[in-house]
């Protein structure tokens, strides 16, 4: 086939890009080469629209061992232990085939983590669906949950936390973001940088089939009416083979034969081989006839672009092939020497004794396009004037019931009960809390992780929203007593070619950068998913932030369930009564305008660090951060989890009761302390200039409001737990 501009455009390349390829090669590429360029130069692999902005994120810190640019980020947790983690999107495949899309998303992120030598110890996910009324939502939710469970459960890695939201902006484009944490010894981390000449290049894992050819290009194309035609590109996951691959790789890694290792994810053999060559400043020569294929007569083009799952590429020390092969034979996995490293700095592919591709590595990587896309700055919306009469007539308890049963607040037990969250025997905080927590096996340490996003705030004002998500992650870690270390981000946005969507991206990234830099909470890994849209309508900007923190002694871990009757409950942080963009405003007042709550990074840091001090001094019995739904929602959840009640009293502020209880001001926590510690706690709060309110005392089983209104905790629990179960069983 003679390649021309039209074929290039069919591959998702732009006219200019095709011209540039011909210039770089000083000739027209053949079809295999064109396929390689289109895979490497698409948004998914090249980050061509985002690179410029991502560079501004803070990525360094005292505990950071590896920042972005490798398969995953790595942070130091002391005693020669390190945590490897990353979050990644699998949005488009999950919309097309929810089970396999979600499953292979989980498989892919776990591979990213164990490629670096780490055994996965926890999975998390952030999943977003269309309106609960939309006809596809239920099936998509069911398929995604089954897919995540199907893969993670089989791998024997606990799924310890997650986030689920519903919003009509995801009607035609759901989001599935999967995150994995792995544990590795600091001196046993593996990287993808090839080194040395004439080293054998090894292919291991499953055979190559025609799965997902051009999946990476699909991830960079928005959905349109032709979606049906794109269907056959979905890959099928095989968690059993991945479990074998994990064990085999870790067994091989225990020795010293690996120079570099890279998993075959998006764009399969193409991106993995090029990545290794590029990082090592080397060339790689591959004989495609040696690649284990599942189907007959696969062409070089298909072999290079296949996205078959559960495969790895390894550069080995010379002479170690037999020893390595033995391990893969034991685990019944394919093993083939398919090529070698060269000094040519080119990717050279052979098939049936003919050279079928010859491309300088730098043309694919360093010379890949980078765009400074046009973007529009968002204005901070004006504050809404709330009609006091509207809210003064509302009955707080009735509003609370509505909020607790709202799809975005209600208990997600139906989901996480389908995930094995206790396998490995180290889960000490299960899903449903602020963060999931797993012990570092055999030590007193524990690692906390959470995943957050606030699409509504980001949509209302991207800069503030970006900051807010990072702060919420920070708070969720602190609420369980963990010191925040670093974050990974999954940036889900609409089209970068649309100035508004691009503006949302740029400003969210700026917000994330400002907050993570101020909180010393650097970004160590992540991924960007653009073109999340249907026709011209982009999703609400949805950066998901995965945060990781360390608990030095897990006996000091905090949970959110109220512990003891008569204990005192405080609100840490100031309540200004910010109602705009709150769940209350949207659900009860049907008001969608106005600015999101303001972020004060100083207070955020000071409140959080002071709370950590209190926790460290064993003064906190339970804690929970205040987010969606405000103070009363947070308190209700603590009551429900602990099977306790509370006598609530609004402090004598000037703001209205509804505003006090449902406002979504930031930087706030609810904490439970024992009576005898009250003076000590208040002293510490005062000394650190942290604002606090005394909110009430814990009772047996009733929520009292100012001694006049009451509701039983059982009733609240009913509202909180019923909705999702009923929705999914109808």
């Amino acid at each position: 086939m003679i390649v021309n501009e039209k074929i290039a455009i069919d591959h998702g390349l732009k006219k200019d890009e095709f011209k540039k390829i011909c210039e770089l090669l000083k000739r027209t590429p053949n079809i295999t080469e064109l396929g390689i360029f289109s895979a490497m130069w698409n948004e998914h692999c090249s980050y061509k629209s985002s690179r410029l902005h991502l560079k501004k994120l803070p990525t360094k810190g005292k505990q950071v061992i590896q920042g972005p640019g490798e398969n995953a980020g790595v942070v130091d947790i002391g005693d020669n232990d390190a945590i490897v983690f990353k979050i990644e999107s699998h949005n488009h495949p999950s919309f097309i085939e929810p089970y396999q899309g979600a499953a292979t998303g989980v498989g892919g992120i776990m591979r990213d983590v164990f490629t670096m030598g780490a055994r996965p110890i926890a999975n998390l996910n952030s999943i977003h669906f269309g309106s609960t009324q939309h006809k596809k939502t239920k099936n998509l939710l069911r398929g995604v949950v089954h897919g995540i469970g199907g893969y993670g459960n089989c791998m024997g890695v606990p799924t310890i936390a997650g986030q689920t939201s519903f919003d009509s902006s995801y009607n035609g484009n759901i989001l599935v973001n999967a995150m994995t944490l792995g544990l590795v010894k600091k001196d046993k981390i593996f990287y993808s940088k090839a080194a040395g000449l004439n080293k054998p290049v090894i292919y291991v894992g499953s055979k190559t089939g025609r799965d997902g050819i051009h999946g990476a290009s699909m991830a960079s194309a928005s959905f349109d009416d032709k979606i049906e035609e794109k269907k056959p590109t979905v890959q099928v996951g095989d968690p059993f083979t991945e479990k074998l691959l994990l064990e085999a790789c870790l067994e091989l890694m225990a020795g010293d034969s690996i120079i570099a290792i890279q998993d075959m994810g998006a764009a399969g053999l193409t991106s993995s081989s090029i990545e290794m060559a590029s990082k090592g400043n080397l060339g790689i020569e591959i004989n495609l006839n040696k690649v284990p294929c599942r189907e007959g007569k696969m062409t070089p083009y298909e072999i290079m672009l296949s996205e078959s799952q559960e495969r790895m590429l390894i550069v080995l020390e010379n002479g170690k092939e037999d020893q390595a092969k033995k391990i893969f034979d034991k685990w019944n996995l394919d093993f083939a020497v398919i090529g070698k490293t060269t000094k040519s700095k080119k990717i050279e592919l052979y098939f049936d004794s003919e050279k079928v591709a010859d491309i300088p590595v730098n043309t694919l990587v360093e010379n890949s396009p980078m765009y400074d896309r046009k973007w529009k700055k968002a204005k901070l919306p004006n504050k809404n004037k709330i009609n006091k009469d509207d809210i003064n007539n509302l009955k707080i308890i009735e509003v609370l019931k509505k909020i607790l049963s709202n799809p975005n607040i209600c208990s997600k037990e139906w989901i996480w009960q389908q995930y094995d969250h206790t396998v490995m025997g180290d889960t000490i905080q299960k899903p449903g809390g602020d963060s999931g927590v797993v012990r570092v096996h055999g030590t007193n340490k524990a690692v906390a992780a959470s995943v957050d996003s606030s699409a509504v705030y980001c949509w209302a004002h991207p800069l503030t929203g970006g900051k807010q998500v990072v702060c919420e992650s920070f708070r969720n870690l602190i609420s369980v007593g963990a010191k925040p270390i670093a974050i990974t981000n999954c940036l889900n946005f609409g089209s970068p070619e649309n100035e508004e969507n691009m503006g949302e991206f740029v400003e969210c990234v700026q917000g994330i950068g400002e907050a993570s830099s101020y909180l010393k909470f650097p970004v160590v890994s992540g991924n960007v998913s653009f073109y999340n849209q249907t026709k011209d309508q982009g999703i609400k900007p949805t950066p998901s932030i995965g945060g990781v923190g360390l608990i030095k002694d897990y006996n000091k871990m905090i949970t959110m369930n109220f512990k003891e009757v008569d204990n005192v409950v405080l609100v840490i942080g100031k309540t200004e009564g910010h109602i705009d963009q709150s769940l209350f405003a949207r659900v009860i007042l049907d008001e969608k305008n106005g600015p999101p709550p303001e972020i004060n990074l100083f207070n955020e840091k000071n409140n959080g660090e002071t709370l950590l001090k209190l926790i460290d001094s064993n003064l906190i019995k339970s804690a929970h951060d205040i987010s969606l739904g405000g103070i009363i929602t947070a308190v209700s959840k603590m009551c429900i989890k602990g099977n306790k009640g509370i006598n609530l009293k609004k402090p004598k502020y000037l703001i209205n009761e509804i505003e006090y209880f449902f406002a979504e001001d930031q930087g706030r926590y609810i904490v439970e302390i024992s009576n005898k510690d009250q003076k000590k706690v208040l002293d510490i709060l005062n000394k650190n200039a942290v604002h606090y309110d005394e909110l009430g005392t814990i009772n047996e089983n009733m929520l009292f409001l100012n001694e006049k209104t009451k509701v039983t905790i059982d009733e609240l629990k009913g509202f909180n737990t019923k909705w999702l179960k009923e929705y999914m069983s109808n």
Partner: protein, 80 residues
Amino acid sequence: MKISLIITLKKDVLDPQGKVIHQALDGMGFNDVNEVRQGKYFEIDTKETDPKKAKDKVEEMCKKLLANLVIENFKIIDAQ
């Protein structure tokens, strides 16, 4: 009228179950097997008595629910 049909994974789609069953058979000494692919079998009893109409209906069921045409094929093998 009773319609029997089978649903199998499309030819080019990976069949993890078939692959592992193949390996297990091999381990048990059945070494002549080239490939194993597995699928699902359905019997649908319908009130429709006209074979053509019944088949059409079942075909529609396959397209809409029983098979996921992204990865699966269906084949009606019997109608009586």
